[in-house]
Point group: C2
Chain length 96, copies 2
């Protein structure tokens, strides 16, 4: 598997809007081949640099990239003014 981690910098007052937009994308991506699971995290502190962090599992980098391309083509990723995104693919190197 690969792990998609995306740390969102959310403009003040936009947390609910960002979650709603994330859900539209999640609903689309969850139907794509190679999708395994996803967990969206919300910071306990409003001061946190990244108010939302998504951690999702995919069968492969290729599956993820194909799904993202499909999502963009389908317009299934609503844009939020000023939302900072930092998506990248990872592999687990230490677990205990």
């Amino acid at each position: 598997d690969v792990v998609l981690i995306n740390a969102f910098e959310v403009p003040d007052g936009q947390r609910e809007a960002a979650i709603a937009a994330w859900e539209v994308s999640r609903d689309f991506l969850a139907e794509q081949p190679g999708y395994i699971s996803t967990v969206l995290h919300a910071s306990l502190s409003p001061e946190a640099r990244f108010q939302l962090v998504n951690v999702a599992r995919w069968e492969s980098a290729e599956a993820f990239e194909a799904a993202i391309a499909e999502m963009r083509a389908a317009g299934a990723s609503p844009q939020i003014e000023g939302l900072g995104i930092n998506p990248a693919l990872y592999t687990e190197i230490r677990r205990d």
Copy 2:
């Protein structure tokens, strides 16, 4: 539970040193009350803004903060020149 997510900005050529330093801290923290688990992720791409992302579970925010204070007092968190850290506590708000 609470989830500690820490996205590391790693200076060029310092990934192995950052992992080694992380292991010293992990070994200390894993012995502290309230520790549950941790997974360290390494980016597939060297271009990723955050080369390393730690996702750890703790029984409570208080347990985590006490453990961090103990770690600092014990000097169990080796410093890496130029390492950017972004630790924050999170709760899961969407899971599927």
